[in-house]
Symmetry: C2
Subunit: 512 residues, 2 copies
């Protein structure tokens, strides 16, 4: 084996491939993993010169942690992981990797759900977690500047005493970075009223895939093309964001939160549509179905939902105190019209927080029901919720996998949790097929294959549900301007042309 040889960066690739193969074969990982891979190779030395001695990982057992993000169905060992501390170090690493024609991947906390930070083989992972500073808070202009590794929730915590907060609130907000949020255009429960990441980021500093540093956007709308908007949600394929200027929001004066328990999920989803149609724009409007409720009740923060209910809505309104009771009354009226069994109003901030904690544990709690599960992320016009839920139930039966539904109902953003047991042959494949079929239903209903998790590695083929070859080609041409060598986060977002025919057969299959 070539594992112990050290003769230049091709060797690293070879070594990593061998390690990766060995790992996949289930070889003795101690023996392999304990080995210091390629420590004195030219590449590692060069990386160390870029970022310093303690900022490069290259041992197998260190690299394994970076083989995927929170989407775990595809994995590959990276070649190395570097931890730059500032924009200049990022640029230095990128310039080096350009010279060496070695691909690279930006990575935040690795909480992404579509494999956006997952290597495809031999990339250098550029981890931004040490660039975790809050650089500036400018309350008169309601903005802040953060480094990409700054944790989402920390920003709200930093400005809460002054009465402000940062609006996008993914369920992973205690762990995920704002840089990662920019990459995926992350959403969250409160994005119904306040918008997703792209509505809250006004400028970025970016290391282009060739190592040059540019600043886009800033305090105000800038002339020329909206390249900030283009960067947000580009999944790390257009460069590496190293500074982010975000809007801060004033905390609402008051908040009211209600739980509405329905016997039938269809009634709950009709209520969702009618609440919005009544002219109320809740801060959040979340829904969970029976199976999801069963999961969260087994989780860390049970609420005490009756076991036999069909769906629960968690509805929050915020704003000026004086208007809220009236909005709550209207919401309750709509729920009653749709045969709600019970409505509860949070009677304290503690109760409200508990309800939210319960809701936010949903993804994890599904683990109590099933050894493995997939989280999907489709979007539909909210008026079509009832019929799409019926189709999801049908797909669940067809593919013989259980599906729990948790969703940002107000946005029409579904998160079907598709359960399977990877030890049972064929189950994982059926789960993947079910996910893809659900996305097809969403696309056909006039929706989208992702609301907030991104395309990543996971949904490249499903891009065809929404786009023609021509439309994908336009997008890839945009990518190629920024990223002409394809070194920056390769293999993400776009189906490979070679897979086109195969993918189209797959579409036929899930459309049956």
């Amino acid at each position: 084996m070539g594992v112990y040889q050290h003769n230049g960066h091709e060797q690293v690739v070879h070594t990593v491939q061998l390690l990766d193969e060995a790992y996949r074969r289930g070889d003795d990982q101690k023996r392999i993993g304990g080995t210091q891979v390629d420590t004195d190779s030219e590449l590692i030395r060069q990386l160390v010169r870029c970022v310093g001695e303690n900022s490069v990982l290259h041992r197998y057992e260190e690299l394994v942690s970076y083989e995927c993000d929170a989407y775990t169905l595809q994995k590959a060992i990276p070649r190395a992981v570097v931890f730059p501390k500032n924009t200049e170090e990022v640029a230095r690493v990128v310039r080096l990797l350009n010279e060496r024609k070695i691909p690279f991947i930006p990575r935040g906390s690795g909480t992404g759900l579509s494999g956006g930070a997952t290597p495809t083989g031999g990339e250098v992972v550029i981890s931004l977690v040490r660039m975790n500073q809050l650089l500036q808070v400018d309350l008169p202009n309601r903005r802040a500047v953060v480094q990409p590794g700054y944790i989402n929730l920390h920003l709200t915590q930093a400005v809460a005493d002054q009465g402000y907060y940062y609006a996008p609130d993914p369920s992973s907000q205690q762990a995920c970075t704002i840089g990662g949020n920019v990459g995926e255009n992350a959403g969250g429960a409160h994005c119904l009223k306040y918008g997703v990441t792209t509505n809250h980021v006004i400028g970025v500093k970016l290391v282009l895939p060739n190592g040059e540093i540019v600043e886009l956007g800033g305090l105000t709308d800038t002339p020329g093309y909206d390249l900030v908007g283009l960067i947000i949600g580009s999944e790390g394929t257009l460069g590496i964001v190293t500074e982010i200027t975000v809007r801060l929001m004033k905390q609402p004066e008051s908040v009211r939160t209600v739980l509405a328990l329905f016997d039938e999920a269809a009634d709950a989803s009709e209520a969702v549509s009618d609440i919005i149609a009544a002219g109320i724009l809740p801060a959040a409007l979340e829904m969970m179905d029976t199976l999801a409720i069963k999961a969260v009740e087994k989780g860390t923060f049970p609420v005490g939902y009756p076991e036999d209910i069909g769906a629960v809505l968690l509805v929050e309104v915020d704003g000026v105190e004086a208007g809220l009771d009236d909005q709550i009354k209207q919401i309750v009226d709509v729920c009653r019209k749709h045969r709600v069994r019970e409505v509860r109003l949070a009677d304290s901030e503690e109760e409200r927080k508990r309800w939210w904690a319960n809701r936010k544990t949903a993804f994890g709690a599904v683990g109590t029901l099933s050894p493995d599960y997939l989280v999907q992320d489709g979007v539909i016009p909210r008026s079509r919720l009832p019929e799409v839920l019926a189709r999801v139930a049908e797909i669940s039966r067809q593919q013989r996998v259980r599906i729990a539904n948790v969703f940002h109902a107000g946005d029409g953003n579904l998160h079907p949790l598709i359960m399977f047991d990877s030890r049972v042959p064929g189950e994982e494949e059926r789960a993947v097929l079910a996910g893809s079929a659900i996305l097809k239903v969403c696309a056909d209903a006039g929706g989208s294959i992702t609301g907030e998790h991104g395309v990543g590695l996971e949904k490249r083929d499903e891009m065809y549900y929404l786009f023609t070859d021509e439309e994908i080609a336009v997008q890839m041409a945009v990518r190629d301007i920024f990223n002409p060598g394809g070194l920056c986060n390769p293999g993400k977002m776009f189906p490979s042309p070679a897979r086109c025919a195969e993918v189209k057969r797959h579409i036929k299959q899930v459309s049956k």
Copy 2:
């Protein structure tokens, strides 16, 4: 002269050039204008085949109306004007012009203020005014689909009875088209709270510069790059939008409007900053200075402002009825802290409308003070309003031109109205120089050279105030993907490379 010859499209160019020269020389326009230009040329016949007999203009006197938009300092006669009725006709025209390598310009109502729809010589103008249908209203999902020639205000009128409206409200909203709004990413007085066009458009159908038709975006956020965001504000350089899907907003339950009259403009601008800092986000927060007030009081809707006041703020809050009085009280308190002379609360919808009508006549009313004027459009952080206003006054003195200030103060979006008399040698040049110098001040204050009017022909050189050569090159590379032949709205947005050195000298000059 070649005017009367008809032998192919080169002749048309030649003819148009001759006509244009003659026009500029001030030749007898009747003699030239009365001539039917090139009616049987190959090009005109081909255009007629694309869009039909009554949908092509080619006589000089018809073309003259299309020599510029509402930015009148640069003009050129187009080669022809066509009026397609649907997407397919647009695509047909574009494909024809590609074959013939003839440049073209999309145009709405021609109310743009930066020359975005102005020919640079020999283009075919593709007027979208006959594509003026409201195609779909979907209230449950709060969206509408319109053709690009649909008038902005008509959309609000169409859904007002059901309690909805379309938020972006440029002062020209009675005349401007939503297609034009998309091109320029138009704003308006109420964009402080609700955002500009890009926050309200979720999808477009687009004829690419090569004539292919693509659909981008749609009901929900779509995966891949945010190409809808890229198209919005791209000033017609990336293709021709032929259908637009927009968000509709629910009308607020109530509205309160106050006028605050200040002795000193500096006090008013400090009040602006403090109102926002107090956590109030007004629906609109407008400011006019003495000279602007003098103008509007001579306009169609005088309010009766005292002659000696230094500035007026027009502040509007909206939302749930119950919370508004409290917000108004806070606003009045802030104004008092800044030595307001008088505060008036609109006591009827009629009075409120009258105040707004007065404000919206500001641009036109300046014509009562000066034979000519330029409207500029800069943006600054609102906390820097007082110092920037002082700089504007200084520039006014330096260049010996009077400047009235009307602005969306809450957004920090200035509209200096620079008055001049084109009959006085050198005055127009000094006015242009003053405008450019103001934009430099805005850029240096951390702002932008355009808030809502676009770059167009007018501010191409000022792009250097904000962007490096590298940043402009990235933007041009994006344009070239969509518009590789450069036929689609040529000469807009970007400085020509040849002018680079000259422009940099100019920057030095206005920076003195």
